[in-house]
Amino acid sequence: MTVYLPFSSSREDVIPVATTGEPAWVRWLLIAVALGFLGLVLFVPLAAVFYEALKKGIDTYFAALVETDALAAIKLTLLSAAIAVPLNLVFGVAAAWAIAKFEFRGKQWLITLIDLPFSVSPVISGLIYVLLFGAHGWFGPWLQAHDVKILFAVPGIVLATIFVTFPFVARELIPLMQAQGTEEEEAARVLGASGWRIFWHVTLPNIKWGLLYGVILCNARAMGEFGAVSVVSGHIRGQTNTLPLHVEILYNEYNFVAAFATASLLALLALLTLALKGLVEWMSQQRQQADISLEPSPP
């Protein structure tokens, strides 16, 4: 076994560094290029959000956030995520159960179709619901006759949100459950456990971190979606405006401080998402290591 020293080591005479490492000047150049690139496209814009939001002081900042239209936008954003995320969660679990625990024809096609919404432009994700529920759409005349509003109302926003966040939970769970196989569930079945019992007591503890990971990403996209929601919302202030749409309206009115204040709320949500994501990754790694140490003999 060769022991590799960390590559920041200043001791250039250590053999592994000399044969498979780069000279110090190359290392620092590459680090500088990487950080410079990330700084230009990532860190500077992120800092700019908070700087612009707080430019006129903390009072103006909070005033922008507690204004009635902003509060309505926060409420609608939370509501649509609260509907879209659980629905996609149930779908993700059902699809992953069928795909990972059973063999059937066309499975690969199903997996590809589940990923489809990720390769559709957000604008088109909104457009398709306009074609279905708009005044000249398939169901438009019927909806109008029965006085049901979907487009330019909350149901349309929820539908578009569901579409763009559709694959998140399923694509996390499918590979995870496929890798875990069916042996534990089969053992529980042989011992007489019902389907629900197997799921709650055997499958769910095994997939909980993957599930949480999918939900966190799904939620971030649900709250932050702009393009799809923008097409179906109708931009009615205080009624059909989500937070990202509120940012756009304020920005286009040259109300920059309020726009960036609202944007900073969404940026904080993104940072929180990344922190939670890191935490979940760390927890599941801990679990894996615990599992390995519990095994009597390594394979």
């Binding site: 590559f7 044969t19 629905l87 699809a95 059973f102 063999e103 957000p122 799921f199 944007a263």
Partner: protein
């Protein structure tokens, strides 16, 4: 251990879960998407062609696909360096920077759009230094490129990173012991191993950038024929109640995306195959 196909599995719930998954998939994704194709078909071939090949639409394809391709190329180059630095070297703040690479996935596109505009506008933090040099970024096609680079950034890093982590040092040591210098080892040994992952990340970044809307419209300036992306053109047609025109352009984009999706699936299969060996 059994690897035989479980056609007669003892586990329950197959009909229920597959049935529900198919129903939900059809209601949310398949039926709405097919509505776009049926609507476009109602147009007839000649009229369809007239819409999707009009000069303004062609100019938007050139910008959307061209800028997306260029942004994916920039991301492939710098993404590889970022992945390399994160896997091979240690430096202060590395873990934090590793976590922040995913920011474009988590940050709402509208927020990215106004932030990039604030930074790269003529009076912005970076724009004020670029403008005297004659480089105008915001409200030009260059702004579109910056936005698309931002949203495609994590794809290459995140596809290349795990492959670099799995790379066995013995291979590099063998190359070194046979007299290869570091650059030769990289070009002849490492690059061929990570090439499928690099290409996958490139295509994922490209596919995402082609359809991007939120982060672009704020910084682009949206001048027809110059800095107008295809998704914006769809919105413009919708706002003029030209549903058929909007759908025709959308269907063209959908077909392009589906071809890309197939290509990415093939690439990922290749990448997995390479790593398996």
């Amino acid at each position: 251990m059994t690897t035989a196909p479980k056609r007669h599995s003892v586990l329950p719930g197959f009909n229920l879960t597959l049935g529900y998954a198919l129903l939900y998939l059809s209601l949310i994704v398949l039926i709405p998407l097919s509505a776009a194709f049926i609507k476009a078909a109602s147009l007839g071939w000649d009229a369809f062609w007239a819409v999707i090949s009009s000069p303004r639409v062609l100019a938007s394809y050139r910008l959307s696909f061209g800028a997306a391709l260029l942004a994916a190329g920039i991301n492939a180059f710098f993404g590889l360096i970022v992945a390399w630095v994160l896997v091979r070297y240690t430096f202060p703040g590395k873990r934090l920077i590793d976590a922040l690479v995913d920011l474009p996935f988590a940050l709402p596109t509208a927020v990215a759009g106004i932030a990039l505009t604030a930074v790269y506008a003529g009076n912005g933090w970076l724009g004020r230094y670029l403008e005297p040099l004659g480089v105008k970024v915001a409200f030009t096609p260059l702004g579109v490129l910056v936005a698309l680079t931002f949203i495609g950034m994590p794809f290459v890093v995140r596809t290349v990173q795990p492959v670099l982590e799995d790379l066995e040092r013995e291979v590099e040591e063998a190359a070194a012991s046979l007299g290869a210098d570091r650059w030769q080892t990289f070009r002849r040994v490492i690059l061929p191993i990570i090439a499928p992952a690099l290409l996958t990340g490139f295509s994922l970044a490209f596919a995402r950038a082609v359809g991007e809307y939120g982060s672009v419209i704020f910084i682009a300036g949206n001048v027809p024929m110059v800095s107008e992306i295809t998704p914006l053109l769809i919105i413009t047609k919708l706002e003029q109640y030209d549903y058929v025109g909007a759908t025709a352009i959308a269907v063209t984009m959908l077909i392009a995306s589906f071809i890309l999706l197939l290509l990415i699936n093939v690439l990922q299969g290749w990448s997995r195959h390479r790593r398996g060996n």
